[in-house]
């Protein structure tokens, strides 16, 4: 019972990371494909501007996911991290490099160096979600079962590759939707059109990849496939498609801000559908929630910790996003400080 509840919380945290982190990776994706220094200057500036205050927070969900895994389901953690340590380690390296690249690009002036840091940031924004998606594919296809030793087959199979690509496409979609809204917020008309087009394209890519994925991986993921095409799982998938369609419509209107909610809903609903389709397994047909669950008392405490986290972190997150969307958060620059000093002197 407690284990089930914690499993739901884990699923929620995964969904939150897919959305929060996804927007962030997506911004990196569009940074990579923004073109040369001249052509890509304005989109990059928007990406930088929109991402800077919130990117760190968006990635903390991953920490929460890890903690829920090892405290709540130690067996799952051991299985997943033993079988797929390589993609997960590479994802971690990617996380470090992209953070460093993003942070170091800002104060660098010479174009060549900016390119290096920008490339580190943008390339890792693709690799990290790919490896995380591949790991998710390894779980969904039941390959990361307890006791399986690490091998490329666990995470470099058809399911994993499709899941990785799907992860990249989904982050690109989320990123483009949020950047459209940001462009609108900053009053950059042409960038609204620029990112809107990209949002539509990536949505199409997500759809195509999902269809290919379902057909290619069908025989490896029978359990999850069945769950996704029947009953409650199917319902969530349909709702997700509806949300994605609503996003495509909303993003074309004068209030693309609303599209952010529907795009997040569509991604979160897919994750939820995946969770529902796997029930009662954490790793399909070899490890159930009950088998993987840790001791009862820590699980109960974990729920308490989550409740306190909601109370403490929830308002803080709301505050951050509100300040951000109200334009209260902006980096200081050389020019700013000089102006400030000049005023102080008068």
């Amino acid at each position: 019972m407690t284990a089930d509840a914690v499993a739901w919380i884990l699923l929620l945290a995964v969904a939150a990371y897919a959305c929060g982190g996804g927007v962030d990776y997506g911004a990196g994706f569009w940074d990579l494909f923004a073109g040369g220094a001249e052509r890509g200057e304005r989109p990059r500036r928007l990406i930088d501007h929109a991402m800077a205050p919130v990117w760190e927070t968006n990635n903390v969900w991953l920490v929460f996911v890890l903690i829920l895994m090892w405290t709540g389901f130690p067996v799952l953690f051991e299985a997943v991290f033993s079988a797929m340590w390589l993609p997960l380690a590479l994802a971690a390296v990617g996380l470090v490099l992209r953070g460093a690249g993003f942070a170091l690009r800002k104060p660098t002036r010479r174009l060549a160096r900016r390119r290096i840091y920008g490339a580190a940031f943008a390339v890792c924004s693709l690799l990290t979600p790919f490896f995380l998606g591949a790991a998710a594919g390894g779980v969904a296809s039941g390959r990361a079962a307890p006791g399986v030793t690490a091998s490329a087959e666990v995470w470099a199979n058809a399911t994993s590759v499709v899941a990785g690509l799907l992860a990249i496409a989904a982050t690109a979609f989320l990123g483009a939707v949020f950047l459209t809204a940001d462009a609108r917020r900053f009053g950059e008309r042409d960038l609204v059109i620029y990112f809107r087009l990209r949002a539509w394209c990536s949505l199409v890519a997500v759809g195509v990849l999902a269809l290919i994925g379902l057909s290619v991986t069908r025989k490896h993921t029978t359990y999850v496939y069945h769950g996704l095409t029947h009953g409650f799982g199917l319902l969530l998938v349909l709702l997700s498609i509806a949300a994605a369609a609503a996003t495509a419509l909303l993003i074309g209107t004068h209030a693309p801000g609303w599209a952010r909610y529907t795009s997040v809903a569509s991604v979160a609903l897919v994750i939820a559908a995946w969770g529902i389709a796997q029930r009662p397994y954490l790793v399909p047909t070899s490890l159930t929630v009950q088998q993987a669950a840790g001791a009862t008392k820590p699980l109960q405490w974990l729920m308490l910790v989550t409740a306190i986290a909601l109370v403490l972190v929830g308002p803080a997150l709301v505050l951050l996003y509100r300040l951000d969307t109200h334009g209260m958060l902006e980096a200081q620059t050389d020019a700013d400080v000089e102006r400030g000093a000049a005023q102080g002197q008068r």
Binding site: A89, V305, L329, A331, D336, E338, A341
Partner: protein, 402 residues
């Protein structure tokens, strides 16, 4: 390791996760809020940061202290932990001493590192109010914490003596259990139990551990060779322990020097040597922190969970070559990132130096050249304040405080 023990001691990390969240949120508000938020709103939104840091340390140190003195579970017939008690697993015997020692070490290190940067500026002739504040505020905090840390360090050593006697034996290279144990400063432990080199002080170890020459100190040979650190590991733990204690003592002298001048003249010491030492203190305290971690981690060998799980049992079947490769990649990545970071910071500093010298800030030489956290003002008045006369106008206060 996590598969077997995750549910016993993983919860501390849960607390760390909120702390991490709160930190990420409030640091973003702090860094990006200078421009638009009202000054007091901005200040109050920064207040939760130190609290979140204390909370984060709680989780991390809770987990590490549990590895040193594990409790809060019983083992069933198959050797798996059952009857988990979360309270006991979080508040383990080593938790208190480790937590305070660590938290104070962090604030102290931060203080010396920041002050060290301004000390370098001071040595280069920047004597304005901004540099004075930049030096005095962090250095005062660190100087006050240093003697406190001396007592906390002494306390944690004695707690280790009582609760992890073998680690204490390693850190002090005590071979045989006995009384009237001498203290060695450095020296190398040989496989036969003798000590080569180093300075030997009779009876001091017993006195430090229990305030009397007759205090019995447990030696490494009290446990089988397979259950204790090797002589090389013991020597390493001993050296890092001694380096930590030495630097700590040196920092106390530095803090006393500062306090003495402040009491007598209400001003900073005049000697350039003071500022040279202060500039070094930052790097020295980082070394000290690393030494402390090496002592506690190497001194626990061969255990990852003291007396419950060996490092060799926690290792996954992953091949050694793969692990070394991955480790190599991680080291290379961090060296590159750190190098790039230092390069960027140094270039920023050079750029601002040029600006301070009155050379006009180079005009925009490409897209997006405006950098964050710009230079302090390069205005005529500020340059006047750079001259030795300390009563320059406040123009050199950070621009953000307008």
């Amino acid at each position: 390791m996590m598969g077997r023990w995750g549910d016993v001691f993983g919860l501390g990390f849960g607390i760390e996760a909120w702390a991490f969240f709160l930190e990420a949120v409030f640091i973003a508000v702090y860094l990006y809020g200078w421009r638009r938020l009202k000054p007091w709103t901005h200040f109050w939104l920064g207040v939760p940061l130190p609290l979140a840091a204390l909370m984060g340390a709680f989780g991390i140190i809770g987990a590490n202290a549990w590895m040193n003195t594990p409790q809060g579970f019983t083992l069933d017939a198959a050797g798996r932990p059952v009857n988990v008690s979360v309270q006991q697993a979080v508040f383990t015997p080593m938790f208190g001493p480790q937590y305070w020692h660590f938290v104070v070490a962090m604030y102290l290190t931060a203080g010396y590192v920041v002050a060290g940067i301004y000390a370098v500026g001071w040595l280069r002739g920047r004597r304005d109010r901004y540099h004075k504040l930049g030096f005095c505020v962090p250095f005062t905090i660190a100087a006050v914490l240093t003697p406190l840390q001396f007592f906390l360090g002494d306390d944690i050593a004695r707690q280790i003596f009582h609760k992890q006697p073998v680690k204490f034996a390693a850190a002090e290279i005590v071979w045989d259990t006995g009384t009237h144990v001498p203290e060695y400063l450095f020296g190398r432990l040989q496989p036969d139990g003798t000590v080569k080199g180093g300075l030997k002080i009779s009876d001091l170890n017993s006195i430090l551990a229990g305030f009397s020459r007759d205090t019995q100190v447990t030696g490494l040979t009290s446990v089988p060779a397979a259950d204790r650190p090797t002589t090389a590991e013991a020597t390493l733990a001993h050296w890092t322990f001694d380096i930590m204690a030495m630097i700590g003592s040196a920092l106390i002298l530095l803090a006393l020097w500062y306090g003495w001048c402040w009491l007598r003249r209400r001003d900073l010491p005049r000697s350039r040597w003071f500022f040279r030492c202060a500039a070094l203190a930052g790097a020295a305290s980082v070394v000290t922190v690393e030494c402390g971690w090496i002592t506690t981690e190497v001194g626990r060998q061969p255990w990852i969970v003291y007396r419950n799980m060996r490092v060799s049992d926690a290792v996954t079947p992953t091949s050694a070559a793969a692990l070394w490769t991955m480790f190599g990649i991680v080291v290379v990545v961090y060296v590159l990132v750190f190098g790039a970071f230092m390069g960027v910071v140094l270039r920023m500093s050079r750029r601002w130096q040029r600006a301070d010298l009155g050379l006009v800030r180079p005009a925009a030489d490409g897209p997006e050249t405006d950098t964050p956290y710009g230079p302090r003002p390069e205005l005529p008045a500020a340059r006047a304040a750079d001259a030795p006369s300390p009563q320059g106008p406040d123009a050199s206060a950070p621009g953000s405080m307008r």
